[in-house]
């Protein structure tokens, strides 16, 4: 029996169209727009101005607090302007726009392919370098990585869990990283283990990637304390709490963080970025994203410079198909629909999905037939049908009592509902309001 989480879950069509496509480097654009807020937490503070010359890897916006992240230039050239432009969220946010000139890197960055296994940095140095490099969770949540590595006083980390699940349909960037950068991922994992002072790491991978499981299992034999854990293909296996439940059979209490049960979770892409930052002095200026869709000519995986416009990666994959009805930043279950292809790709861009109109257009909502399927698929054990009604009736007291804040917004309920009810839309509204009320009470 494969390990998995025990409550709820669904199995959407996997559609991993780009799994066989090796990572290629996307051409450097003529202009990049690098938002100063690509992470959860306070936006970084720009430290460059119009006309400044920058090199690849140079700091251009400084972290403005503990929960914040540095931003580096992903190209060399001249700062064209620092201005508000529309980002993937659809809002206008401050970005540093750089006109590209050549590809000149800062000298201390090691650009060789050579694997550096020896970890010379100390625990403190590792956390500092991870913070300096502006590394955030690359699974999509973009939570600053150094914050998770700084275990709060009174708590102890017992195990590091590497999230290599990639449970979102379509996306394959983590899959390719594991196949092509296996050793780097494992060294990155050991660096994270050292920073957390744990001697055990578990890499959780869904069993729809047997080649990645086999490859990493073979490599992991050379590394101390790393276990590869194949997991059942079940969405949302990559949800942080679900992954912890699946791998170490512990449930993170409602409202608490994983450290409460001795676990720290990092994405596999993050482990690779940590390797590059600590061993190669390379800040987070590029990452891998999947560009995919059933009508797309060439679903593929690309290493892109942060700030590259979305339209470039679409062009690289053969251009926008005629029938495109929705452009999703991320996967089909939790990704965000984009309103424009001129917005930049950022640290959190794990993929871009072009969905045909028929597939993504919502069907007419019918009356709830009380089948209870939303309740049975909810991985948090909530009652989505009830939360929707309470949110609609503005019964915030009951919403709070029925644990609306536990919702991880995985979308399993809306995906499953036979009456096409927009369950998650309403639950999000309710969550927003209840969150406000709870903060006001404090």
């Amino acid at each position: 029996m494969l390990k998995t989480f025990s409550i709820g879950g669904i199995h959407p069509a996997e559609n991993k169209l780009s799994a066989e496509s090796a990572i290629q480097a996307l051409p450097i654009p003529q202009m990049v727009s690098i938002p100063i807020s690509q992470h959860i937490g306070a936006p970084a503070t720009p430290i460059v101005k119009k006309g400044d010359e920058v090199k690849v890897g140079q700091l251009i916006a400084k972290s403005s607090g503990f929960v914040s992240a540095n931003i580096h230039s992903s190209v060399s050239g001249t700062v064209f302007k620092v201005d508000d432009i529309m980002d993937a969220s659809g809002f206008r946010r401050t970005s540093v726009i750089i006109k590209v000139d050549g590809d000149e890197w800062l000298e201390h960055i090691d650009r060789s392919e050579e694997l550096v296994k020896e970890i010379s940095a100390s625990k403190e140095e590792i956390i500092k370098r991870v913070g300096d490099a502006g590394i955030v969770g690359l699974g999509g949540a973009t939570f600053p990585a150094h914050v998770k590595l700084s275990v709060p006083p009174g708590k102890t980390a017992e195990v590091l869990i590497i999230n290599a699940v990639e449970c979102e349909p379509y996306l394959t960037s983590d899959h390719r990283i594991m196949l092509e950068k296996g050793d780097e991922v494992l060294v990155g994992t050991q660096i994270l283990m050292k920073a957390l002072e744990v001697n055990k790491a578990i890499i959780g991978i869904e069993n729809n990637k047997p080649d990645a499981i086999a490859h990493l299992t073979k490599l992991a034999a050379n590394y101390q304390g790393i276990e590869i854990c194949p997991l059942k293909t079940q969405y949302p296996q990559g949800g942080e709490k679900q992954l912890i439940a699946a791998t170490i059979k512990r449930e993170v209490p409602s409202g608490a963080l994983p450290i409460e049960v001795g676990a720290v979770v990092q994405n596999v892409g993050t482990a690779f970025a940590v390797y590059e930052a600590v061993q190669k002095n390379k800040p987070l200026i590029e990452r891998v994203a999947t560009i995919t869709g059933k009508s797309l000519k060439n679903p593929s995986n690309w290493l892109f410079r942060i700030g590259t416009p979305v339209k470039d990666i679409i062009e690289a994959a053969g251009g926008m198909p005629e029938d495109t009805g929705k452009i999703v930043g991320g996967g089909p279950m939790m990704g965000k629909a984009l309103s424009s292809i001129d917005v930049p790709l950022t640290k959190g861009s794990s993929g871009l999905l072009l969905l045909p109109r028929e597939e993504t257009a919502r069907k007419a909502t019918k009356a709830c037939i009380r089948c209870g399927k939303c309740v049975s698929v909810c991985p948090m054990g909530l009652e989505p049908y009830l939360l929707m009604v309470c949110a609609d009736k503005k019964d915030y007291e009951r919403l709070e009592k029925d644990a609306v804040m536990d919702c991880i917004e995985c979308g399993s309920c809306s995906f499953t509902c036979p009456a096409n009810r927009p369950l998650l839309d309403y639950i999000r509204l309710g969550k927003g309001k209840v969150g406000q009320i709870m903060r006001a009470r404090k």
Binding site: K241, S254, I341, K366, A403
Partner: protein, 331 residues
Amino acid sequence: MNTKVLVAPSPHVHSGDSIQKNMYGVVFAMLPALLFSFFYFGLGALVVTLTAVASCYLFEFLIQKYILKTEVSINDGSALITGILLAFNVPSNLPIWIIMIGALVAIGIGKMTFGGLGNNVFNPALVGRVFLLISFPVQMTSWPVSKGLTSGYIDVETGATPLAIIKEGLKSGQSLSSLMDKIPSNMDMFLGNMGGSMGEIAGAALVLGLIYMLIRKIITWHIPVAVIGSVAILTGILHMVDPEAYAGPVFHILTGGLLLGAIFMATDYVTSPMSNKGMIIYGVGIGVLTVVIRVFGAYPEGVSFAILIMNAFVPLINVYVKPKRFGEKRK
């Protein structure tokens, strides 16, 4: 690029499941039992089914179109299910006009007064059935004797159901072991060779439908297992206490409407609880009430009443029985 794209919150894809798929899935699961009823009761079964289904469609259409003046949704399959279930729950020699009254009560009072599909508290087919049972007790309890495919409709020979034979026999002071000789063998009862309502007799066909619905994930195992399990345990205990006064679990499961009720009526989405825990409580409630009515009550059969009574408790169960939450603090 000037393509207009949709911008909406996640999730961006849907399973493709729909109300129709589930409803017609249930209809497909009822086909074996329907075929068995044609096989045992011939013309009568055909007339009763067609009348019930056509009347349910007609009344739903008329009420939605002319009284509620809402969108007509007779294609969602729920009226078809109510029609077939109503037919399953009556004898195959029931006059057409009585069936039509049953359909009117089922759709009109059981479903539409509450606001249509999704809002009714009680199972519509059972509301119709119980209304008929109380209003036309003679016609509703004259069970035709199976004559196979060539069976006629109104003028057929009638006989008692095994449950009625046992109930009457025990009341008149006969011993259970002597009564057992008068009822069909277990295998005959499982295959449907006994008196009873059209759709309830063939246990084998009903179980086939259950397996289909479980595989297609239309329903979960919780309700059928809770109902049948609790009846088996309770009647098993009673039988062990006094084998001469109480029939055993096999008899109780195979006779009357227990399998039909547990598989197709207690599992009705709209009138059953939302959580797995709730479903088990509801199922056990139905099982216990059925046994109490059958063994200690005035009626020989109690499944319909048991389901309707438990239907009334569903809102209460939904409020007080919560699913197991992830990361719930253990007390």
